[in-house]
């Protein structure tokens, strides 16, 4: 356990003196902040504080500790909490063997944000725990969870929230692996958990005693100490689960089923919750409810985050990500017995979740703007850099507004990363604008004409909308690469996006093979919904392309009109100067002026046609391409599954042959292989179903977004038209008296 910490102020001598009530009180008054930290340090090192009073009754213990603690906690709940966490996270980070500044910073952020977001949910859990257990046992649980929660019973739920989080956090360092404690917790037989939970507080004291001594002696954890603690935790967990499940009208079966599923795999709870958070819940999922997952979710999230932060792009973090997003097959199989029971319920839950998500989506308060394209460098090495400014109140970011400089290839690089990570799972990753060699070369050569300005503005707008789409996607926003892109000062150069590089060539090759394999795959679609959607998407794609061409031609014609109007204006002015009737001459030059203004109006309108209408359609075309991409991913998953099935079939045939040939030695191997492939088939089938579900959800989301976007953009466009027409009225109305004045 937290034996020592390099970064925290040396608590050891202090805490050794802490035996007396007085000393604690003094410390409490000294300074709130220090205290917070101390508290946490003492939390991690719980036993140190209690070392002196091993035989004291629990009540006394609670009193002793809660007295000084409540004061600083309640008085400085808002502020020092971050320090509290810092202290804690430092410790955890240290114990995890990763003493990195970044990691701990990240922790603070995450904790801050999540604690705020889930405060009320934690509330529920605490109350649930309270309802199920006696006062003492609750106190015991809390005590065990972390030494600091003694104040929980007396304090408000809000103050308990971070405390619970801490509990979640506290746990992992106990063992090297992040998920291990959870596994242990959940795999504990509930019976023992219950009995342990109702143990008198005396036992708790004992526990403390044990633990304390253990820690002091330097052992990371001891069996007797850990056992009850774990079971207690398990109990708490169970209650938490049970409560919300009841809320979504689940029966007792779900509880049982949970117990079954829980021991099944270590990753299970972790990914259930991650999935919930992002809302890609496959049907096979046995449990789903927002509240139940809070502490574990934090666990996994935080740690996943931490690892990613520490070792960026390392294969390990990748694997971890995958692991957390994929429900292991074993879990699903173990549940399959109960699956029939839960099916309708899970559907209902899914719906509920969908609703929740919708609300969540709307709540995303983040706005990204791309501004000030700036040419950097000269000649063919020149590139454009854009200012990417983010405005957000989301607590996951370090500040409310921040700006970074990004070049175009960075945007592409971000897309590459995202589509690599999330594409295979069936997410619609918003695509950035395409590379445009011609436009870029023109820009590089340094021609400053209207077409290059046009090009830049188009691209800038497209990039902005692209980023905005990324950050409004609930899952992509959570991606560390996205946040890095928005926040980090310097990014490693994205090389693979260069069209003429080796990577670019490789990409082209993969695309080509993909296209070929897509043609060869003959999927007999079992789901009518997908069949219809695909058709719909494809025809929409075609129509949008046509529409785009039409709007482009409208732009061309509008520009032509603008030019022709300009030349007519000039000509009319000349005619006016030639006219010998003064009034008519005046009117003609007025007409020329009106037409001049008209020219500007048409030109502006052409720009509006381009930026508000044509670009919106171009966006849709790109997005529809991405949607089709997800359908392809689904098809690939299906293909993998089919291939595995074919393989399994082959193995079975082989087995039959061997059986017939009576070769028992090889038979064993064949049987193993069959088992292996059976597992694969099941897994691939699950994968396929998961991808299908994700795609389905994503498509629904896409359509909703599309509708929203379309409407918004169209209104902007129509308003621009409206304005230009109003302007036109003004111009002609001003001209009318001039015409009437001709005598």
């Amino acid at each position: 356990m937290a034996t020592s910490s390099e970064r925290s102020p040396p608590p050891f001598p202090d805490s050794e003196d802490q035996d007396a009530l007085d000393s604690e009180e003094v410390r409490g008054r000294e300074s709130d902040e220090d205290d917070g930290e101390e508290l946490f340090l003492s939390a991690t090192n719980t036993p140190m504080a209690k070392e002196e009073s091993p035989s004291a009754p629990a009540g006394l213990l609670v009193d002793l500790l809660s007295d000084p603690l409540i004061e600083p906690l309640s008085s400085s709940m808002n502020k020092p909490s971050s320090e509290l966490f810092e202290g804690l996270t430092n410790d955890t980070a240290v114990t995890a063997g990763k003493p990195s500044v970044e990691a701990s910073d990240e922790f603070v952020d995450i904790l801050g944000s999540e604690a705020a977001a889930q405060r009320e949910e934690v509330d529920v859990t605490v109350e649930a725990a309270a309802g199920d257990k006696g006062e003492t046992s609750r106190g015991a649980t809390d005590l065990l969870a972390d030494g600091e929660t003694r104040s929980a019973p007396e304090q408000e739920a809000t103050s308990a929230a971070p405390v619970m989080d801490l509990g979640g956090l506290q746990q992992p360092p106990a063992s090297a692996k992040v998920t291990d404690p959870l596994e242990d917790l959940l795999s504990d037989p509930p019976a023992t958990a219950a009995s342990d939970a109702h143990k008198p507080s005396g036992a708790v004291v004992d526990l403390f005693d044990d633990e304390g001594s253990d820690i002091f002696t330097g052992a990371p954890s001891s069996k007797p100490a850990k056992q009850p603690q774990k079971s207690l935790f398990g109990e708490a967990d169970e209650d938490l689960f049970g409560e919300p499940l009841g809320a979504v009208s689940k029966k007792a079966t779900s509880k049982e089923q949970k117990e079954k599923s829980a021991p099944a795999s270590a990753g299970e709870p972790a990914h259930i919750f991650t999935e919930e958070a992002v809302g890609t819940v496959p049907n096979a999922r046995p449990v789903s409810s927002k509240t139940n997952g809070i502490p574990p979710e934090e666990d996994s999230d935080i740690f996943a985050e931490a690892t990613v932060e520490l070792s960026l792009d390392s294969p390990r973090s990748e694997r971890r990500k995958e692991a957390t997003t994929k429900p292991p097959a074993s879990a699903s199989t173990s549940v399959s017995a109960a699956a029939s029971l839960t099916k309708p319920q899970s559907a209902a839950v899914e719906e509920l979740e969908e609703e929740e998500e919708e609300e969540l989506e709307d709540k995303f308060d983040i706005y990204v703007s791309v501004k000030d394209p700036e040419k950097i460098g000269d000649g063919m090495n020149a590139y454009m850099a854009y200012k990417v400014s983010t405005q957000t109140s989301l607590p996951m970011f370090r500040s409310k507004t921040f700006t970074v400089r990004r070049r175009f290839s960075d945007f592409l690089g971000l897309y590459e990363k995202l589509s690599e990570k999330h594409g295979p799972n069936g997410l619609i990753v918003p695509p950035p604008p395409e590379k445009n060699l011609l436009g870029m070369t023109k820009m590089k050569v340094g021609k400053e004409d209207s077409s290059s300005a046009d090009f830049l503005e188009r691209r800038r707008g497209a990039l902005e909308r692209y980023l905005q789409r990324v950050v409004t996607h609930p899952m992509l926003l959570q991606d560390p690469d996205v946040r890095e892109f928005l926040e980090k000062e310097e990014l490693p150069r994205a090389v693979s996006t260069q069209a003429l590089s080796g990577a670019g060539f490789l990409k082209m090759l993969t695309k080509a093979t993909d296209a070929v394999s897509k043609m060869t795959i003959k999927m007999n679609e079992s789901d009518v919904w997908f069949e219809e959607k695909l058709q719909e998407v494809e025809s929409a794609d075609q129509q949008f392309r046509k529409l785009h061409a039409l709007v482009e031609s409208l732009v061309v014609h509008r520009k032509e009109l603008s030019l022709n109007t300009a030349s007519f204006a000039k000509s009319a002015a000349m005619l006016g100067s030639a006219e010998d009737n003064t009034a008519l001459s005046r009117a003609l030059s007025q007409l020329a002026e009106v037409e001049d203004k008209m020219e500007q109006l048409h030109q502006d309108q052409a720009a509006n046609d381009t930026f508000s209408f044509a670009e919106m359609i171009a966006d849709f075309i790109r997005l529809l391409g991405a949607v089709r991409g997800t359908f392809d991913q689904r098809m690939k998953a299906w293909q993998r599954w089919q291939d595995a099935q074919a393989m399994l079939q082959k193995k079975r045939e082989l087995e039959a042959k061997l059986l017939w040939a009576n070769k028992p030695d090889k038979l064993q191997l064949a049987k193993e292989e069959i088992a292996e492939w059976e597992a694969k088939v099941t897994q691939y089938e699950r994968d396929f179903e998961r991808v299908s579900a994700t795609v389905r959800k994503e498509v629904v989301r896409f359509e909703k977004e599309k509708t929203k976007n379309f409407k918004r953009q169209i209104i902007v466009y129509l308003e621009s038209l409206l304005q230009s027409q109003q302007q036109l009225i003004k111009y002609w109305e001003a001209f009318l008296p001039e015409a009437k004045a001709i005598a």
């Binding site: 529409l547 109007t565 009117a587 409407k711 109003q726 002609w732 015409a739």
Partner: protein, 398 residues
């Protein structure tokens, strides 16, 4: 086969030359029939003049008959001092026909609805060209009828009254060539006599003005035509956009369907307005400019005739001097000189009157058309605003 009726035509009266509607002789073309390239106009006359047999009569006339009448007037020596109203241009149905043909070729690339709309649009365009044709012919006759001298022309009266086919002979190749040659000579002559010293400041000014004005108005006409065509292109784009939106909407099953539907509807309405803007601009502006371009050409012709007479007079002066020098044929030369002077003086006098009235006519016509165009532009723009506002409100409230 197309025909138009009266009420339709009234609305479309475009090139409004201010015709002092003398009730003594009222001419209109209430009906016209289009058969292939030939357009048969029904020329209707209402008169109180006793020189006509009946007070009210109609005769069928073709475009060639109008040309014949025009040529006959131009060739009449007595009218040399007048601005002969420009002959109506030959009916040109080529462009809408071409477009129709192209549309038929591109039918497969369009949806049925789109095709129908495009066809409708072309039919409307065709009809507009047709109406315009009828109108310029009508205007030609009205100009004649309102002219104090020309209205009494014998050929004109025959043109109006003779109830059989005039069946004017088409010009044969030789005559065509002759006409071409005459034009050449005339232009060369124009260059030759342009160096002549003008005796009257009024005509000197008028000449420079008309030359300058002609080149300017020619340019403006071309530019205005281009501008109008661009407007039409935009209206056409709207049709396609609307149709595509419509087919998008047909396949959409999401809530976006409603938005698409509204937008498609809006574009359909917008294109109608845009089409009107284009055709009104054509009618009020381009046609006006085009007509006056031709009218100025006619005025220039008048100036040419006068200059020719001036040259003739000076030549006769020279001839007289020569004759006096030689003391030979003096009375003939004197007579010739006197005649030339008389002709020139008469020509100058009537030309002055004609040019002055032309100026007044031009200003009035410009005024009328510009006012009408501005009013129409405002009207259409207001229409557009109402449509757009309505659509935006609908979208916002949904």
């Amino acid at each position: 086969m197309t025909s138009i009726d009266e009420s339709d035509k009234e609305k479309l009266r475009s090139v409004s030359v201010d015709l002092n509607n003398d009730t003594a002789l009222l001419i209109d073309i209430p009906d016209a029939l289009c058969e292939r390239d030939k357009v048969k106009f029904t020329v209707h006359t209402k008169t109180t003049l006793t020189s006509f047999q009946k007070p009210d009569f109609s005769v069928p006339r073709q475009h060639e008959d109008f040309i014949w009448l025009h040529d006959a007037l131009v060739e009449t020596e007595d009218y040399a001092g007048l601005i002969i109203p420009p002959a109506p241009p030959k009916p040109d149905f080529e462009s809408p026909r071409d477009k129709m043909h192209k549309l038929g070729e591109g039918e497969s690339t369009m949806t049925k609805e789109e095709y129908t709309k495009m066809k409708q649009e072309l039919e409307a365009e065709y009809l507009a060209v047709f109406k315009k044709t009828v109108q310029v012919h009508e205007v030609f006759l009205q100009r004649l009828s309102s002219h104090p001298v020309l209205s009494k022309d014998r050929n004109f009266q025959i043109f109006l009254e003779y109830d059989q086919d005039l069946s004017v002979r088409r010009k044969n190749a030789k005559e065509m060539f002759g006409g071409f040659f005459k034009n050449m000579v005339k232009s060369a002559d124009e260059v030759l006599i342009s160096g002549i010293k003008e005796v009257d400041d009024f005509f000197e000014q008028e000449k420079t003005f008309l030359l300058d004005y002609y080149s300017k108005i020619k340019d403006s006409t071309a530019k205005a035509e281009k501008m109008t065509r661009s407007h039409k292109n935009i209206a056409d784009d709207y049709i396609h956009i609307s149709a595509t939106l419509n087919s998008l909407c047909a396949e959409d099953s999401t809530p976006n369907k409603k938005n698409l539907e509204k937008l498609s509807d809006l574009f359909e309405r917008l294109r109608k307005v845009e089409g009107r803007v284009a055709s009104d601009q054509e009618l009020k502006l381009t046609e006006l400019l085009r007509y006056y371009m031709r009218d100025i050409q006619a005025a220039k012709d008048l100036l040419y005739r006068r200059a020719r007479a001036l040259v003739d007079y000076e030549n006769s002066n020279k001839a007289l001097d020569k004759a006096r020098l030689k003391s030979k044929d003096i009375p003939q030369a004197e007579e010739h000189q006197r005649q030339c002077l008389q002709k020139f003086d008469k020509l100058s006098e009537s030309a002055k009157k004609e040019l002055t009235s032309f100026k007044g006519r031009r200003v009035v016509a410009f005024r009328k058309n510009l006012i009408e165009m501005a009013e129409l532009e405002i009207k259409h723009a207001k229409n557009n605003v109402a449509l757009l506002q309505g659509c935006v409100d609908l979208l916002k409230n949904n």
